[in-house]
Symmetry: C2
């Protein structure tokens, strides 16, 4: 079950009308940016996570408010995170907040924040 | 149109039965791994791409054969790339090849490889 000591969670707003390609691009953006945050601030977490095979979970929330609350909690816990805003050139109004990448960080810490959220 | 001098393409197999959360996780894996390849081999491309805002396109092919052919072309062109195999614990048989991340690299070069492929 928990061979992964480190993981990254990406939280997506399910209340937006995004197609699967759009979701994949936004989630990737969050994954790359949050990983870069981790590399800069917790290089040991980042390295161990890559070595373990980059465990990721993609979960969902129902509103911008829920996403921003998770961001605040991640900040309070001093976790690496990245909040993604879409440029809004295609499917969404400009600067729509679409998703939040948290970690890589120790799985037990990530689970405290996102462990109860449903998978996308 | 082309304010982005660098981009990353992620090519997904559309012939697999993957849900949108699964696709997002696999594409993110490709994005992080190919970006890491670029950082190690073409740090200037990687830095410029991050600064421009990480332009990504997510496109699709219809078979493993098409994906592997793109991989070979990327290798021949000496582009940074990452081929992703799923561990197959959930929706797919073990070691199924799911997607291919190419770049970041100059947009004109990426377009030669993936410019004709439909968006996911």
């Amino acid at each position: 079950m928990s061979e992964f000591k480190y993981k990254q969670a990406i939280v997506v707003r399910a209340d937006l009308k995004m197609g699967k390609g759009k979701i994949a691009a936004q989630v990737s953006h969050a994954a790359v940016s949050a990983a870069e945050e981790a590399r800069n601030r917790h290089e040991d977490w980042w390295e161990a996570w890559l070595e373990e095979g980059q465990k990721k979970v993609v979960v969902k929330v129902k509103s911008e408010a829920e996403l921003l609350q998770l961001q605040q909690e991640a900040a309070k816990m001093r976790l690496p995170y990245a909040l993604i805003r879409d440029r809004g050139l295609t499917q969404l109004p400009p600067d729509t907040v679409t998703c939040l990448g948290i970690g890589p960080a120790p799985s037990s810490v990530i689970d405290k924040l996102t462990g109860e959220l449903p998978l996308l």
